[in-house]
């Protein structure tokens, strides 16, 4: 079950990198950046998972040796990482809109005024 998670996130990461490297459309590159992010987020949340564990919400009195819960730290990290990913996507999309306005195209081959 957890192995499937790991395989999926490796596939997502590789797919994301593949998209960024090969697709010549700015929108698709943004999608690739998203895929890369999601793959890592999935890995992060899977790392903290324990089969049969409950949600890590306890008051200090309820907590004892027998309480069994999933690792709360990766969940906090994933939340942060998702927020950052959303910001990056938003900024990248804003830039794509501006590129379309200036160059009139979304083809990466035609947007290369800065080179050499």
């Amino acid at each position: 079950m957890l192995l499937l998670n790991y395989i999926t996130c490796i596939i997502l990461i590789v797919l994301g990198l593949y998209t960024i490297v090969t697709k010549k459309n700015f929108m698709k590159i943004v999608i690739g950046m998203g895929l890369l992010d999601y793959g890592i987020n999935l890995l992060l949340i899977s790392v903290g998972f324990k089969a049969g564990g409950t949600a890590p919400i306890f008051t200090i009195n309820e907590l004892d040796r027998s309480s069994f819960f999933v690792d709360p730290v990766p969940q906090a990290l994933t939340l942060t990482s998702i927020v950052i990913g959303a910001c990056v996507t938003a900024l990248a999309l804003a830039l794509v809109i501006m590129i379309n306005k200036h160059y009139g195209t979304l083809d990466t081959d035609k947007v290369r005024r800065l080179k050499g």
Binding site: I13, L17, V21, I84, M98
Partner: protein, 631 residues
């Protein structure tokens, strides 16, 4: 009070950013004073840490929300400031103040200034946070905020197509780099269930399993993308070129330096892998390639800021080589050069900004003769140019000399020779800039340009004076700044001890050595051979101009100077405009090495896919290298 200083120096900048966002465009005076006050406060707080940390040799730790470790297990986010962090923090917060001072007049005519200052403060705050944090995930968050703000500032002049294009390239490549760092962080967390740097340093000590090696390789590549080491450097010139100059200064002065700090922290303190010859070789090789390719590309440029950007890449190569040498002298040289690079490259970017402010262009083919109109800027530019080319008595000479010496002593003589050649080429290309921007004849359209206002000149003079101080009193600079930092790099046991308790650290460590204080002798001033080499450098540079340069005068109408005594004299004949353009000066050299330059121009294709591919290939190569050679 002392233990609150790190968080204060970070949080004032963040709070300032939010206040500026609230003020918007309403009150310009209020906004500018808030920006100045928060940046200055942050600098003061950083300065106040100098006494306890470098003076008394303490290390300040601070647990956010008082979540201190229980039973040797750190869960909360900790800030930890040792001598290395403080060394970086000092010059970073100083350059933030200088850049803020410069910005007020420089971007006066732009629109969207409130957003500029919000992003400016966010970027500064995230760099300070990155330097002072003691938590691996916090490092990722800060570097991501930094990238995010940098991208938005790159595209600040979004009425120019180039700015938007560079912004997109930067965010695509930068987010791949950040993703690699995050991936490595996740892998490390999965293995050790902690994110605290000090605890990880203890856990990772001499433990090279495939999983830690995988994380190490990803970390190195991720920070190499942020530091713009060579195969991943393609976006740097684009971003530096189109961003406002006050921001380009911060890119090379603090964003780059944060990544250098990241590399130092990860490989020296967390992994302690620098006693391995394979890691030393990796960094030295990488640094050497970076410095060489950076400078050769700079020779071929004809835009002022793009040229400076390639020099920035090249100088970072020196820093990486220095810290890769792992000897006390090498680390001292690397750190010294990191400090100097912030000073002189910031100075040069501010000069480029002044030229842009006065003339509206940074194209070297169009500029010329500005020294008559902007004498102070020209003088400041010369100070910066001499510093970066390593001419005594400016600061670049000292740090470069230490790096030559350290690489020679460590048995890497070819590296010393390449570093010398790179220094020659740096000087040659700055002769080109000086010749085509500040000397020669003044084109007609710039007849009425004026010197930039005082509030822009003051920051430039501060940097220029610091450049000279760094060259005149190297012993004081090293004694009070560099040596404590270099010692902190080499003795990471203390870093762990303070954070995690003495018995935790005692299981692992032994001291490696102490860094020497660089007196005049070590700095190369009294060694006759140094002067000989300097003479050789100057001779070679002038030969390059004289023999390979050739003169290819352009004919167009010259500016009508009222006073004919400033005109160029042509042996009695009527004067004609004979200014040598920036792209013409080294055409001979460029012709001789045309295959190399053609190849390089093809590589810098401007295609974002190619740039991403080069990052992926770098990651693959480094992974292979680390798995094969690092044991």
């Amino acid at each position: 009070m002392t233990q609150h200083l790190p968080i204060l120096s970070i949080i004032t900048l963040f709070i300032g950013a939010f206040i500026v966002a609230l003020i918007k465009e309403k009150n310009e005076m209020l906004r500018n004073s808030i920006v100045l006050i928060v940046t200055f406060l942050s600098f003061i707080f950083t300065l106040m840490m100098y006494g306890p940390i470098i003076g008394k040799g303490e290390i300040i730790t601070y647990w956010m929300g008082n979540w201190s470790p229980i039973k040797d297990w750190a869960i909360g986010i900790g800030l930890e400031v040792d001598q290395l962090s403080l060394f970086f923090g000092l010059f970073i917060s100083l350059s933030i103040v200088i850049s803020a001072l410069y910005s007020f007049r420089y971007i006066e005519k732009e629109t969207g200034k409130d957003k500029y200052y919000v992003l400016f403060l966010m970027m500064s705050a995230s760099v300070m946070g990155f330097i002072f944090t003691g938590d691996l995930f916090n490092m990722y968050v800060m570097i991501e905020i930094m990238t995010f703000a940098s991208v938005a500032l790159t595209a600040f002049r979004n009425d120019r197509p180039e700015a938007v294009e560079a912004g997109f390239k930067y965010i695509a490549i930068g987010s791949i780099g950040s993703s690699l760092i995050l991936l490595a962080t996740v892998i490390i967390y999965a293995q050790f269930h902690t994110l605290n740097l000090a605890q990880l340093a203890g856990e990772l000590y001499n433990k090279y399993t495939p999983i830690t090696l995988f994380a190490l390789a990803l970390m190195i590549v991720g920070y190499a993308v942020k530091v713009f080491a060579v195969p991943t450097h393609f976006v740097a010139p684009d971003a530096y070129m189109v961003a406002p100059s006050s921001i380009s200064m911060l890119f090379s002065g603090i964003v780059n330096k944060a990544a250098v700090y990241g590399i130092l922290r990860i490989i020296y303190v967390v992994y302690q892998s620098m006693n391995l010859p394979s890691m030393q070789f990796l960094l030295i090789f990488w640094g050497t390639v970076t410095m060489f390719i950076g400078v050769t590309m700079a020779l071929a440029q004809h835009d002022f800021k793009r040229l400076l950007a390639f020099h920035s890449i090249s100088q970072i190569g020196y820093v990486i080589t220095g810290i890769g040498l792992t000897t006390a002298l090498g680390i001292t040289g690397g750190l010294y050069h990191a400090l100097n690079h912030t000073l002189f490259k910031g100075l040069l970017f501010l000069c480029a900004g002044a030229v842009f402010y006065a003339t509206g262009t940074t194209d070297l083919d169009k500029l010329g003769g500005l020294a008559k109109r902007m004498p102070q800027t020209a003088l400041i530019f010369l100070i910066g140019a001499f510093s970066i080319s390593g001419i005594p008595p400016f600061n670049g000479f000292v740090s470069k000399w230490i790096i030559y010496q350290a690489s020679y002593e460590a048995g890497y003589a070819p590296v010393t020779i390449i570093a010398l050649i790179v220094s020659v080429m740096t000087l040659a290309s700055f002769i080109k800039v000086a010749q085509s921007a500040f000397f020669g004849q003044l084109p007609k359209e710039f007849k009425n340009v004026e010197e930039v206002p005082l509030s822009m000149r003051i920051p430039m003079w501060i940097m220029a004076v610091l450049c000279i101080i760094g060259g005149i009193v190297p012993s004081a600079v090293t004694k009070y700044l560099i040596t404590p930092a270099a010692n902190a790099v080499m003795n990471s046991a203390k870093y762990v001890e303070v954070m995690m308790g003495k018995d935790f650290a005692a299981k692992f460590y032994k001291n490696i050595g102490t860094a020497p204080i660089i007196d005049y002798k070590l700095a190369g001033y009294w060694q006759p051979i140094a002067w000989l080499i300097l003479f050789g450098i100057l001779l070679l540079a002038f030969t390059m101009v004289a023999v390979l340069g050739g003169f290819n005068p352009k004919k167009f109408s010259y500016a009508d100077e009222e006073d004919a005594k400033y005109d160029v004299f042509y042996s009695g004949e009527s004067a004609e405009f004979s200014h040598v353009g920036g792209s013409d000066l080294f055409w001979g050299l460029k012709y001789q090495f045309r295959h190399y330059f053609d190849f390089m121009h093809r590589i810098h294709s401007g295609l974002v896919n190619d740039y991403a591919l080069s990052v992926v290939i770098t990651a693959a190569v480094i992974l292979l290298y680390v798995f094969t050679f690092v044991r």
